[in-house]
């Protein structure tokens, strides 16, 4: 049975709790472009482990608070 991993994130929520930090400010802190932050936030790009740590570090939280993952089975299409 094929299983699909999907990386999810709480970046929008974390930005809100960080005094509505802008995407540009987060991009500067993580050392990437604003375009990349937009793509990650929208779930269009899964960052490398290093970048994921840098983003979590920018908010001062653990990586598991910033990123999570879902496993979807192809048959049921439900979360495990």
């Amino acid at each position: 049975m094929a299983r699909k991993f999907r990386i999810t994130n709480n970046i929008r929520k974390l930005r809100f709790f960080a005094n509505e930090m802008t995407q540009q400010e987060l991009a500067e802190k993580a050392g990437v472009s604003r375009q990349t932050i937009i793509a990650i936030e929208a779930g269009k790009y899964s960052p490398s482990l290093e970048l994921a740590f840098r983003i979590a570090d920018a908010f001062g939280v653990k990586i598991s608070e910033a990123f999570d993952y879902e496993i979807k089975t192809e048959e049921a299409g439900k979360k495990e």
Binding site: R3, A27, V32, S33, T36
Partner: protein, 171 residues
């Protein structure tokens, strides 16, 4: 539109212009009977010439593009903040032109497609020789496949910038 998208559009336009210039140059030569499909030396010379022109034109166009983009960023900063110093403008330009891991991944993925197109073109060129077509046609197929591969690379990059790029794994 991001800096990367603008840069890719400039590259695509440069590629289209060069390909058009090559087609106009060679067709005009054929029409004036100054060249033929049997004259391999003419085609090789024309291709070498346009490869050289292409490299120089790409460098010049990219330099001009970066100058214009820097000016645009500086003007935008001045308008937004009223007055800002050179270091602030330089920092804004640096931030705009960041090349991060997503950009590199998109470049790698699109380059793979470009190589596939060029490879398919090379095979098609060899097949044309086997079928008894003139060698000049083979040269043109190879040259054309590299040009089209480069254009497809740019279009693929634009697609990935818009739609995103995934590393989804199935286990």
């Amino acid at each position: 539109m991001s800096y990367q998208e603008k840069k890719t559009i400039v590259s695509i336009l440069t590629g289209i212009l060069l390909l058009a210039a090559y087609c106009i140059y060679t067709f005009s030569r054929i029409q004036s009977s100054m060249a033929s499909l049997e004259d391999v030396k003419f085609w090789a010379t024309a291709m070498l010439m346009f490869i050289g022109i292409g490299i120089v034109a790409s460098i010049i166009i990219q330099i001009v593009f970066h100058i214009l983009l820097s000016i645009a960023i500086a003007i935008k900063k001045q308008v937004q903040n009223g007055k800002c110093d050179d270091t602030e403008i330089e920092r804004a330009i640096e931030l705009e032109m960041v090349e991060d891991e997503m950009v590199k991944l998109i470049e790698l993925k699109s380059m793979r497609i470009s190589f596939a197109v060029a490879g398919a073109g090379f095979v098609a060129a060899l097949i044309s020789l086997v079928m008894g077509c003139p060698p000049a046609l083979m040269l043109n197929i190879v040259f054309g496949s590299f040009c089209i591969g480069s254009l497809i690379e740019g279009i693929t990059q634009l697609y990935f910038y818009k739609k995103g790029v995934k590393n989804g794994k199935e286990v």
